[in-house]
């Protein structure tokens, strides 16, 4: 092992200890395994600039680590709406993990469970092999059983083109952006709307969306399953009413706009769409 490898190992060990140290000190009581009830997925609805308050839904406001260290409270506010929302009992895991000892215990348990799982799988595989032999039917069954679903679309899978004609109604404008899966395999688009980022001449990225759910014009029909290779989907972008923002005669256009996907990658398109009065965006839908 040369000097650089030794230094990297040492730096990695220090980094892990630093992470444990830093996250042991703040709100470490919020994530012990015993607090997570089985089959109750934690609600991790935290602050997102692209997720404005939605009517008819409970809104969970999460006080993050620094605030949690002082206050240690979670505020759950329910917005009024026509459809009452049932009681919400969220478990919001802090990003501040368990203590080092807890982590070690959890890891030991996980490792033991994995060892048992591995042994069981090996036994099952041996039994399966003994039962089916090397017949074609057996091989086919195995292939079918291990088929994997499509992956989530990333920026590398998609291209986007904006319609040059904008629809309008009651001074609201609508832009349709078509995305195409240019990859060689199907991929799944996220259920949540993409984020929208304007890129100016300097390359500075500016978040644009003021409402991420639907536009004045609604939203496109939901997609039916993954986007096949070569398949297309659309996302609708709505522009605000120019009469409600100042100055009325100004416009805001961008050299390019990015659609942001959950994994942090983006898909670029160009348009002359005016975003000055705020924009809204729909989820991906059928074209």
């Amino acid at each position: 092992m040369n000097t650089l490898d030794q230094r990297l190992d040492s730096a990695a060990a220090d980094l892990w200890m630093e992470v444990d140290r830093a996250h042991d000190t703040v709100g470490a009581d919020q994530l012990s395994g015993s607090q997570l009830e089985p089959n109750l997925a934690p609600v991790v609805m935290i602050r997102r600039w692209d997720s404005p308050p939605r009517p008819h839904r409970a809104r969970i406001v999460f006080a993050v680590a620094a605030a949690a260290a002082i206050v240690g409270v979670l505020v759950v506010a329910e917005r009024p709406g026509k459809e009452p929302v049932g009681p919400v009992t969220p478990i919001v895991p802090s990003m501040s993990p368990t203590t080092t000892a807890d982590v070690a215990t959890d890891r030991d348990k996980a490792l033991a469970a994995l060892a048992a799982e591995k042994k069981l799988l090996e036994e099952r595989a041996a039994q399966e092999a003994a039962r089916s032999g090397s017949t074609d039917a057996g091989a086919e069954a195995t292939t079918t059983a291990t088929a994997t679903p499509s992956h989530l679309c990333t920026g590398a899978d998609l291209t986007a083109i904006a319609d040059s004609n904008f629809d309008s109604a009651m001074s609201n404008t609508k832009l349709v952006v078509q995305v195409t899966n240019t990859g060689s395999a199907p991929c799944s688009l996220p259920d949540a709307p993409p984020t929208l980022i304007g890129v100016d001449d300097d390359g500075t990225e500016v978040p644009l969306v003021s409402r991420a759910d639907q536009t004045y014009f609604g939203k496109p029909q939901p997609l039916k399953g993954p986007l096949p290779a070569g398949g297309t989907a659309v996302v609708w972008i709505g522009g605000g009413r120019p009469t409600v923002c100042d100055p009325i005669d100004s416009i805001q256009r961008w050299p390019s706009i990015l659609l942001g996907l959950p994994d942090g990658t983006t898909v670029e398109f160009t348009t002359t769409f005016d975003t000055k009065c705020g924009v809204s965006i729909s989820p991906f839908g059928a074209s």
Binding site: P42, P93, T148
Partner: protein, 183 residues
């Protein structure tokens, strides 16, 4: 955690079958992986607060798409990719931010550095200054002890490309360390 524990012991890095991950729901995935994701984001950003934000956002994205993510061959690889992408985006945004905001962020980073020995802190500082892909490959290798194949799966690049980034990053780091030793 024992100070002299091996990296693999510290990371709890094990191979998990998709079946295992599907059986365990999102909460068990969260409990198992969030510490490693924090370490990855912290290594790439140098800020605990930024790391927490990035990992929270990544886990929100994971939660929103859990039905799909849980069925992937390598769910953890997907989430690690989200974290590395977002860490890189954060760095890029910081570069583009106004100077005042950058100064504040840097001051916060200095506060965030905490008690890490200066040698290690300096090495991570050098790693973060590498081109993003090189920094990502070296970090995944050092922090999670991933093979080149696994790194390629996380970053959606070939094993050979990962090897190239690793070699270039290591060469740069070696040069910079040597340069730092010169009087």
């Amino acid at each position: 955690m024992e100070p002299n524990a091996s990296i693999s012991e510290m990371t709890g890095n094990t191979t998990r079958s998709p079946a295992d991950l599907q059986q365990g729901s999102f909460d068990s995935f969260f409990l198992r992986e969030q510490r490693g994701l924090l370490a990855l984001a912290f290594a790439l950003t140098g800020s605990h607060q930024a790391a927490e934000d990035i990992v929270q956002d990544a886990l929100i994205a994971t939660y929103d798409n859990w039905a799909i993510v849980a069925g992937l061959d390598q769910p953890l690889a997907w989430v690690r990719r989200v974290v590395t992408n977002r860490s890189t985006s954060l760095i890029r945004r910081r570069i583009n931010d106004a100077k005042a905001i950058t100064r504040i962020a840097l001051r916060r980073e200095q506060l965030d550095r905490g008690s890490m020995p200066s040698d290690s802190a300096h090495l991570w500082h050098l790693i973060r200054r590498l081109p993003p892909r090189q920094a990502q490959v070296i970090t995944l290798k050092a922090v999670h002890q991933l093979s080149l194949q696994e790194i390629g799966e996380v970053l959606e690049i070939s094993k050979e490309t990962a090897q190239t980034h690793l070699q270039r990053g290591r060469a740069t780091l070696t040069r910079q360390i040597e340069k730092g030793r010169q009087p």
